[in-house]
């Protein structure tokens, strides 16, 4: 009996241990694919082969061997996914980190400083939340023109208020704790109080938001590119492949499904890492 229990515990412990590492490995793999795309991708992602259009995975046509099939222009889907990882990962990481940093800083300031600082920041948050992302995207593309950087800019501009809201609410609660007040009364600067006392206490909630946002950012990049703001065809991004592939779902499922599967795995891995990071930052759990 006790042997059985012991065994079950070690088994679940082992499961927990491995489940901590495979998301990291998976993300490392995606990142490596993005960085070393020219070395890994079997073909030029933009090389067309009009004879070999919409071929299922495994087809050989002319000089191409389509491991994951071909798209509507006979381009190799595998190569496009590998190259697409560059755009998608860059946009997702950059926009989550930047909007998170901006949102958390402003949210903490609003929650800690209160008074007019709070009023100004939180009104700006309300205003930004009420501007449709599409409108902002169109204005940005009209003024600045399309580019990857502008995609990130638009995403940061539209997403930071979400972090700010969460950071603000959490800071309000933490800032009233006696240990925070005590530190401030002894002359600790606002920066010190926020970094030492407030941030560690709210980072868990922020991590949850960030992991949810991460998957959304990949999809939003596709949407913005579709509007003509982001990368222009024929440049590959997961979102772009997905949105074109949707049109061929009935007769060429692989075009949309495979980048979709990659996105799914990436988001899952990010979520698991998010959980892991949150637990790691909370001494009560590990």
């Amino acid at each position: 009996m006790s042997g059985l229990v012991a065994q079950r515990i070690t088994f679940s412990q082992a499961l927990v241990k491995t489940s901590r590492w495979w998301p990291v490995a998976l993300i490392a793999m995606f990142v490596a694919a993005a960085i070393f795309a020219p070395l890994i991708a079997p073909y030029d992602p933009n090389a067309q082969n009009l004879v070999g259009r919409l071929k299922p995975p495994g087809t050989v046509s002319r000089t191409f061997h389509y491991w994951l099939g071909s798209d509507e222009l006979g381009r190799d889907v595998l190569s496009r996914i590998i190259y697409g990882a560059r755009i998608s990962l860059t946009v997702a990481f950059a926009s989550v980190i930047l909007s998170g940093a901006v949102g958390v800083c402003l949210g903490m300031m609003a929650g800690y400083r209160r008074g007019w600082v709070e009023m100004v920041i939180m009104r700006v948050v309300d205003v930004f939340l009420s501007i449709p992302a599409i409108l902002l995207a169109i204005i940005t593309v009209a003024v600045l023109g399309p580019s990857l950087l502008n995609v990130i800019l638009v995403l940061v501009l539209t997403r930071w208020p979400r972090y700010a809201r969460v950071a603000y609410g959490q800071t309000l609660a933490v800032a009233n704790m006696p240990y925070v007040r005590l530190s401030a009364f002894m002359g600790a600067s606002a920066t010190r109080v926020l970094l030492r006392h407030v941030l560690p206490n709210i980072i868990g909630a922020i991590t949850v938001v960030a992991t949810l946002e991460f998957g959304l950012m990949v999809l939003f990049e596709a949407g913005l590119s579709f509007l003509g703001l982001g990368v222009q065809p024929p440049t590959a991004s997961w979102g772009a492949i997905l949105s074109v592939g949707r049109n061929y779902l009935a007769n060429a499922w692989w075009i949309a499904t495979l980048p979709g599967a990659c996105l799914f795995l990436l988001v899952l891995a990010i979520n698991l890492i998010g959980d892991f990071v949150r637990d790691y930052l909370d001494p009560r759990i590990h």
């Binding site: 240990y179 002894m186 600790a188 006392h197 560690p200 909370d282 001494p283």
Partner: protein, 325 residues
């Protein structure tokens, strides 16, 4: 041990909340090596009085008069920056909420070091050495290991000691402790009281302890200030006050201490009537609507007058208090 200059001298401090004088002309002196107890029912203004020393009043409250001096320097005239230098250094405060005063995500040692780092700018090795020495002094065994633990890994009494160690790390001249033992069980309560006694003796710290437990007062204090409705109604050496209370309120408060041969523990609420809400006190003596000795004279505010060595009371009928059962 009456030093020429008291560590803390509060004179005629007044605090208003929404027009009501919730603290009205309070004067308290605390000398080095002495423990002064501030006693009174819930809501009588004890915490506000203590918080006003370091100008830590809540936003709603306004300091409207009086002075606070620390070793001859006027705290109430200092700038916010100057005062920040005093807080946690020369004057330490232990808040009423013990556990909430520790950051759940910081190791105990780091929290003890906080004041040292802010006020002395010590490096981490040096600060940690002092922190561990102080933790050992407040009775934490195995301090080196404890310093690495988080509050959730420590018992309530241990957390309280960590807080006390954090408060004492800069060797303050004055320690303000707002009900330091209310949340603790009796054994730990006794240990913490021992610790404060020891501190007073070995470090010569002046301690202002707030409580509504007359048992703690009898056990711990050298001097007592009894507060009612935002005013000090009686103050003096603990022996004098316990032997011969000269204010009816003090007399009634003392009757609430459980005695071995008397009836079982009687609650403070057994004083007839309830504490009027702040601002709804009667004119004149604020206790008169509950006082068995009250008459027309009490419609005038009684001044605090000396009735014995260092023993003051604010009652028109101080000579008749002994008649009360």
């Amino acid at each position: 041990m009456n030093a020429a200059e008291p560590v803390l001298a509060m004179r005629d401090v007044a605090i208003e909340i929404g027009g009501a004088r919730v603290v009205d002309g309070v004067s308290i002196t605390a000398s080095a090596g002495r423990i002064v107890a501030l006693v009174g029912e819930s809501g009588c203004g004890k915490s506000l009085t203590a918080l006003s020393i370091l100008r830590l009043l809540p936003k709603a409250a306004r300091f409207t008069g009086g002075t606070v001096e620390l070793g001859g320097r006027v705290l109430s005239a200092m700038s916010e920056e100057q005062l920040a230098g005093v807080r946690g250094d020369e004057v330490a405060i232990i808040f009423q909420e013990p556990i909430a005063s520790l950051n759940p995500l910081m190791r105990a040692g780091e929290q003890v070091e906080e004041a040292l780092r802010l006020h002395r700018g010590l490096g981490s090795a040096e600060a940690r050495r002092e922190a561990i020495a102080m933790m050992t002094r407040v009775g934490i065994s195995d301090a080196e290991r404890r310093a690495e633990q988080y509050p959730f890994e420590l018992s309530g009494g241990m957390c309280q000691r960590i807080m006390i160690a954090a408060a004492l790390i800069c060797r303050p001249k004055l320690l303000i402790a707002d009900e330091p033992t209310t949340a603790l069980d009796v054994t730990i309560q006794a240990q913490i009281l021992d610790l404060m006694r020891d501190l007073r003796q070995s470090a010569g710290t002046a301690i202002l302890v707030i409580t509504h437990d007359m048992g703690v007062v009898a056990d711990l204090a050298d001097d007592v200030c009894i507060m009612y409705g935002g005013r000090i109604v009686e103050s003096g050496p603990v022996d004098a006050i316990f032997e011969e209370p000269r204010h009816p309120y003090t007399k009634l408060l003392l009757a609430t201490i459980p005695k071995l041969d008397g009836p079982r523990k009687v609650d403070l609420k057994t004083i007839a009537g309830v504490v009027p809400a702040a601002g709804t006190w009667p004119d004149g003596c604020r206790f008169r609507n509950r006082c068995p000795l009250a008459d027309e004279a009490c419609a005038t505010v009684p001044p605090l007058v000396e009735v014995g060595p260092d023993h003051d009371t604010a009652c028109w009928h101080s000579t008749r208090v002994a008649e009360l059962a």
